[in-house]
């Protein structure tokens, strides 16, 4: 293990060496990580794999892996793609919101005056709903 491990995840070398590396993997990424180890164990190279690793401060970092097996050893290199992931999530949310706004504004084209209050009410509810579910989505994407 090189010094980048200590720098990015915040653990000492000893802490990383004494535990199984699966102990650091995000629960939602365990299955895919086990599957990838299986691929490597059957002597196949893995050129692209992503999972989240627990840092010492309790947050997770997204790591993008490339790995090659030699017998029962795995040579692996990973880069920290957390910033990219967060930007990706933010961009996706922004797009979703733009889509919602265009749907809502289309409804107000040629609207009759007696429908106005009801449509405003409906639109505001949808916006509120959007932000509620976004908070949940973002939390599960990052955590």
């Amino acid at each position: 293990m090189n010094p980048a491990w200590e720098r990015i995840l915040g653990y000492t070398r000893e802490e990383l060496m004494t535990k199984r590396f699966l102990d650091f993997v995000h629960p939602d990424d365990l299955d895919s990580t086990r599957k990838t180890i299986g691929t490597l164990a059957s002597q196949h190279q893995v050129t692209f794999f992503e999972n989240r690793y627990l840092c010492r401060d309790g947050t997770y970092r997204w790591l993008q892996w490339s790995a090659a097996p030699t017998g029962n050893l795995i040579y692996a290199a990973a880069r920290n793609v957390t910033e990219h992931k967060l930007a990706e999530v933010a961009l996706g949310e922004r797009l979703r919101f733009e889509q919602l706004l265009s749907v809502l504004s289309a409804r107000f084209v040629n609207i009759s005056i007696d429908r106005m209050d009801a449509e405003i009410d409906r639109a505001l509810k949808q916006i509120l709903e959007f932000f509620k579910s976004r908070a949940m989505r973002v939390a599960s994407d990052i955590a």
Partner: protein
């Protein structure tokens, strides 16, 4: 008795030193692990 250092040995020592430098400055996380789930030294 004078002992000669094998030039091949000197050369590989230099390669190890060079690799070590790259290993230490890399921005990427590099490791060797075993399929049992542990990191190796």
């Amino acid at each position: 008795m004078k002992r000669e250092i094998d030039p091949t040995f000197t050369r590989s020592l230099k390669t190890v030193e060079e690799l070590d430098q790259f290993f230490n400055i890399s921005l990427d996380l590099l490791c060797i692990a075993n399929t049992d789930g542990y990191f190796c030294a």
